[in-house]
Amino acid sequence: MRTVLIVEDEFLIAIDLKLLLERFGWSVFGPAATIVEALKLLDVELPAVALLDVTLKDGAVTPVAEALRARNVPFVVASAYDRPELVGGDVLIGAPNVGKPTEQRRLLATLEQLVSC
């Protein structure tokens, strides 16, 4: 089963991404709206890949990205910032940014690519 953790604090966007990915066969963990929630979910089960918003209710997503990196889980950023690393730190450098608003094909293709390599 292809699993994805969604970390997004804007509830409409979170539901949109969840329903969209489920429609295309993904099993969704979350969505988590906070760093605390996301880290808790990672303690339960590791997803194949994660989709991260950069600014959450309780701060920048950095600790989540670091936890994912430490556990070798690849991640994708979905951010309206042109350079998410300026907000979320160096750990986001090199992570693909699928943008916000998020175009469906680009999102699906990027996730597929990350889990297949």
Partner: protein, 332 residues
């Protein structure tokens, strides 16, 4: 005309040209071909805190503890100026002793002289530090605005993508989408244009106004005043819109005799919570939907994740009853 007259004439001419230089608000220097200062304006002396005596005759780079011996400026004067007649607004950023880090715009013009080939330079130095700081702040603000705009577009995208299209005509899809879009926009208006003024009663009245005509329809029973913060206003506008459109399609508002009562009170527990009740009656028998669509998920998610509360939907034989319980602290 005797010698004294000529002297007076020359002197008044000199005094006038010096006073013109001293009146120009930007700091000015006139340099000879070896970059030694011939004239320094009053503004130059006050801006850089130096006296005219210690300035005139000195080499530019020797001025004030060599504070003008700046690589960028050297490049300008050694390489750029000799090849062109004027250089305008060359930016030099430098830590000046006494006045701190500054952004200076240096312009250099070859001095205009009708008779001789003159190699003097007129150097004007404009302190653009404040202007640059203002521009940088404006850039940050514009960046933030762009970011918010893209977020707003992402919300609209979510509504467009998740509004059901299957089994509907284009018109039906459009109306369903625009209904949600309006709820989002009105919520945004209430949240951000009259910040701090919106109250639960106002949000209810505004969102449910289209459904509140005549005997039937939606009735709002007044409860205690509940001031709402921007995010809860947005969430509640969307939630109420979903409840109302559902009632219109399947519930009490789908028949002329149907009614919805909306009321609320505060549970003075610790911590206190707001209990908002949506109570339908007089409509057809209702049953829980087979699958939970976007509307249902929107309500559940908004309440749980955005407002930190819980929602109970009770499909009673008399009609749907929805109870939303929110920590009072999370709605203000």
């Amino acid at each position: 005309m005797n010698l004294e007259d000529i002297y007076r004439l020359l002197r008044s001419g000199h005094v006038q040209s010096q006073s013109i230089i001293d009146t120009v608000p930007e700091p000015l220097l006139v340099l000879d071909k070896d970059l030694c200062v011939q004239t320094a304006s009053r503004s130059f002396c006050t801006t850089f805190n130096v006296s005219r005596d210690e300035t005139i005759g000195q080499h530019l780079y020797d001025l004030g503890n060599r504070q003008w011996d700046i690589p960028e400026l050297r490049r300008l004067l050694d390489e750029v100026v000799p090849k062109s007649t004027a250089v305008i607004d060359y930016e030099v950023e430098h830590d000046f002793p006494g006045i701190g880090r500054r952004t200076m715009l240096v312009s250099a013009h070859r001095l205009f002289h009708p008779d001789t080939t003159n190699h003097s330079l007129l150097l004007s130095i404009v302190d653009a530090t404040e202007r640059r700081r203002g521009e940088a702040e404006k850039d940050v603000l514009l960046g933030e605005l762009r970011h918010r705009m893209k977020n707003m577009l992402a919300l609209v995208q979510a509504l467009a993508r998740q509004t059901t299209a299957a089994g509907r005509s284009g018109e039906e899809y459009r109306d369903a989408f625009l209904g949600r879009f309006n709820a989002l926009m009105e919520g945004h208006d209430a949240a951000y244009t009259q910040e701090g003024k919106a109250d639960l009663q106002q949000v209810l009245a505004r969102t449910l106004e289209p459904y509140s005509e005549g005997q039937a329809g939606v009735h709002i029973d007044l409860g205690p005043p509940i001031p709402l913060g921007p995010k809860p206003i947005m969430s509640l506008s969307l939630i109420l819109h979903e409840l109302a459109t559902n009632a219109l399609k399947y519930g009490a508002l789908s028949v002329p005799s149907g009614q919805v009562r909306v009321h609320w009170h505060v549970d003075e527990a610790s911590p206190p919570s707001l209990r908002l009740v949506w109570q339908e009656s007089g409509g057809p028998r209702v049953a829980p939907p087979a699958t939970s669509g976007f509307g249902t998920q929107l309500i559940e998610f908004a309440v749980a994740s955005e407002l930190g509360g819980r929602v109970e939907q009770n499909y009673a034989s008399t009609g749907l009853v929805v109870e939303i319980v929110l920590p009072l602290a999370s709605v203000s």
